[in-house]
């Protein structure tokens, strides 16, 4: 039983899945469905955001998310500005609010922000009139990723309710895992988090998920298997011992994928570490929808911009 779509987004921002209602999620997914065909036109552009200015404020390195937003903005005919600042400007004395005030002096309609620290978009949203879209904040949320993941699942399964979704990797540091958990819980899916306890947050049940310490039992009957990128940075060497050991016990291999449902799809938010969390045979195999995720990301981001623009112009004409 699909959730009824909301008429519009209720807030001026999209800072997290935790702030969206199931109806709003449904609305974004349905709108993205319509906008997906823009990419199939010979002229891949619609005038919806003509005259609007979007600032892409990336205070943490990103290639694919930033490109995806830029493509979405351009297909909607918005003017885009890229503002790549390292958060080290903090050490130069500029505060988050200073950055915001500088940007607002250019009168943008939207600010797409990625920030290395949780809650930065939420704080910005309170102090600037522009619509804030969270492109990933610290270890907190990555709402557009979760929406494009849900959209991709819907292309195979039609309805999210009742789906069994495995999410495996460094859960504790993954905003993708968290946003997916929030979204899938709201839409009635079952989420299984897989990681050794050293890579899961405390009281993880708070997120409405079922935690597993090993991959194999979690895969049983799974409809979706989402693998997260594993990084072995020096400071995380206390969390697990080596890439080899991670692969041996926690990676998605063809043999392990056989434990999932026969129709199961394989997802990855990218960039992949082949041979670490995912075997190439799976990543490039027939059940992989990893490249569909990339295509769908543009449609989701277009949908959010489009819906926020509509909401704002209606609000403006009300006053």
């Amino acid at each position: 039983m699909a959730v009824e779509s909301a008429a519009a987004l209720s807030g001026k921002d999209v800072v997290g899945i935790s702030h969206l209602s199931p109806g709003e999620i449904q609305l974004i997914l349905d709108t993205a469905e319509e906008l997906l065909e823009v990419a199939k036109r010979p002229i891949k552009k619609v005038p919806a955001l003509r005259g609007s200015t979007v600032v892409n404020l990336f205070m943490e390195a990103s290639t694919r998310t930033r490109f995806s937003f830029e493509v979405a903005e351009k297909r909607l005919s918005a003017d885009t500005l890229n503002f790549a600042a390292s958060s080290s400007s903090v050490s130069k004395g500029e505060t988050l609010f200073d950055t915001a005030r500088n940007l607002m002096a250019m009168a943008p309609d939207f600010i797409v922000i990625r920030h290395p620290h949780s809650g930065a978009p939420h704080r910005l949203a309170k102090v600037v009139p522009a619509s804030i879209i969270n492109a990933g904040d610290g270890i907190n949320e990555h709402p557009t990723q979760a929406l494009l993941d849900a959209f991709t699942m819907r292309q195979t399964f039609a309805d999210l309710e009742g789906l069994k979704v495995v999410i495996a990797g460094d859960i504790r540091h993954s905003r993708v895992a968290r946003s997916n958990a929030f979204l899938l819980d709201k839409m009635g899916a079952e989420v299984r988090f897989v990681a050794p306890a050293s890579l899961q947050p405390v009281d993880v049940e708070e997120l409405g998920v079922i935690p597993f310490l090993r991959l194999e039992p979690a895969l049983e009957g799974a409809d979706v298997v989402m693998m997260l990128r594993i990084q072995l940075e020096r400071q995380k060497r206390v969390n697990f011992p080596s890439m080899r050991e991670y692969f041996d016990f926690f990676a998605l291999t063809p043999e392990r994928l056989d434990l999932a449902a026969g129709h199961a799809i394989v997802m990855h938010p990218g960039p992949m570490n082949r041979g670490v969390e995912i075997d190439s045979g799976v990543a490039d195999g027939p059940r992989s929808v990893i490249l569909d995720q990339v295509t769908n990301g543009v449609a989701i981001r277009m949908a959010i911009l489009y819906l926020l623009a509509g909401g704002r112009s209606e609000a403006a004409s009300d006053s």
Binding site: T95, L96, S118, G119, G138, I139, N140, P201, V202, E206
Partner: protein
């Protein structure tokens, strides 16, 4: 001779077991007489305290005055103004200044500045190790000779257990307590709030209670080993309180304090703030069950002192995101009303216990003058209006900083007059 007679007040003095209507006569900065009915000698200034509580001056064992080095956040003068406006007649200033108070010249500078301000008494706390680096012991004896009343490495807890053992031993020669901010920095792991259900929900890196508890356990064991005087700063967890109970049960010289905000706010308030750094403290605002445990320990006497943990920060510094913003909130001008409102009006403890926790015990455990209204004691007095109802208004703070999570909160019970050395140094308006 300079005289001040405080008339008709409700005198509460745990050191003498007094809670009754009395008059207090002050002569030349010293309490000269305390009795049910005193007649004013000639040329005596009279203050009518009818309807007010008259208590020995409140002593804040944990204040960051920021001077020298961070005068944009607070100076000794502005901090002392905030102290007396908050009902404190004395404060202990932490050594994390620039330069660090690890040297008698810095200690002496702080004392001199406090004398110039001539408001609250300031008792400097020196560093345990040079530069707070946790490697070499600072000149503890020299600092005590210059006016220091205790030592601590503050927010940079001594990781080297051997150094901490030796400091507890060495400090015995000078009969001062060693203070400990209890935190295993590796376990805190760059976190910015209490680790638990709420941190998992809102996606902030957490600081587990065990980061505090393992260090409390270590230091209690070292206090046992050394016979040194250990005072645990702004304790915040249920388990740490149990460890203090064990220490006290064994008769160790272990005491502890809690900050006023720690028995009022929880990690849920951090979530409610929308990532506002005015809710970012260290130790972090804990769970509701830790708050319950603190209230129980305040009631049963496990807690020795209530402190402000006044940590002023410039407004600019709280304009960052939650992780980048510094830890700490101001407390000198809110700690007393918060304690009166929550503990006394909230029926956790009576006024006698409150005065014990904010005056008598602090004086005892740090060996400070005051904490009593006995004849011959310094005339440091805090006068309270238990019925006063006011909202916290940061714009009226005497402190240079405004970083408080309590703006606009209505509290019942406020300080109304502060007397230091027989002088009325502050009086509430209206």
């Amino acid at each position: 001779m300079k005289r001040l007679l405080i008339r008709n007040g409700r005198v509460i003095d745990p050191s003498q077991g007094l809670d009754q209507g009395m008059d207090v006569l002050i002569e030349d900065g010293v309490i000269s007489s305390i009795s049910e009915r005193l007649t004013a000698p000639a040329r005596t200034k009279v203050f009518d305290a009818a309807g007010l509580v008259v208590a020995p001056g409140f002593i804040d064992l944990h204040t960051h005055l920021r001077e020298p080095g961070f005068e944009h956040k607070e100076t000794i003068a502005s901090g002392c103004q905030a102290a007396v406006a908050g009902g404190f007649t004395a404060v202990c200033s932490m050594p994390d200044t620039q330069p660090v108070n690890d040297d008698p010249s810095v200690t002496a500078f702080i004392c001199r500045r406090a004398e110039q301000a001539a408001l609250a008494r300031v008792y400097p706390v020196g560093a345990v190790s040079k530069g707070l680096a946790g490697e070499e012991m600072a000149e503890i004896g020299e600092m005590v000779a210059a006016g220091a009343v205790a030592v601590t490495d503050n927010h940079r807890p001594v990781r080297n257990s051997q150094l901490f053992r030796r400091a507890l031993e060495y400090a015995r020669s000078f009969d001062i307590p060693v203070l400990a901010h209890e935190e295993d920095i590796e376990l805190s792991d760059g976190g910015s709030m209490h680790e638990g259900r709420v941190s998992t929900r809102i996606g902030l890196r957490g600081m587990p209670t065990s980061a505090e508890d393992v260090m409390v356990a270590r230091d209690v064991l070292l206090a046992d080993l050394t016979g040194g005087r250990l005072h645990i700063c702004h304790l915040s967890t249920s388990t740490a309180l149990d460890l203090v109970r064990v220490a006290k049960g064994r008769g160790l010289a272990v005491s502890c304090e809690v900050a006023a905000h720690q028995f009022i706010l929880t990690d849920e308030d951090v979530a409610g703030s929308g990532y506002d750094p005015n809710w970012k403290t260290n130790p972090p605002l804990r769970s509701a069950s830790d708050v319950e445990a603190i209230l129980q320990a305040v009631y049963d006497g496990t807690v020795d002192a209530i402190v402000s943990d006044h940590e002023p920060h410039h407004a600019d510094e709280k304009e960052h995101d939650f992780a980048d913003a510094p830890f700490g909130i101001v407390g000198l001008e809110t700690a007393v009303p918060l304690a009166l409102n929550r503990l006394v009006h909230g029926r956790v403890i009576g006024m006698m216990q409150l005065v014990r926790l904010m005056s008598t015990r602090p004086a005892e455990i740090f060996g400070l003058p005051g904490g009593t209204l006995r004849e011959g004691a310094p005339a440091d007095i805090t006068v309270l209006d238990l019925r006063a109802l006011k909202k916290v208004d940061p714009t009226s703070f005497k402190s240079k900083s405004r970083n408080t999570p309590f703006a606009g909160v209505r509290l019942k019970g406020w300080p109304t007059v502060t007397i230091v050395g027989g002088e009325i140094v502050w009086q509430a308006k209206g």
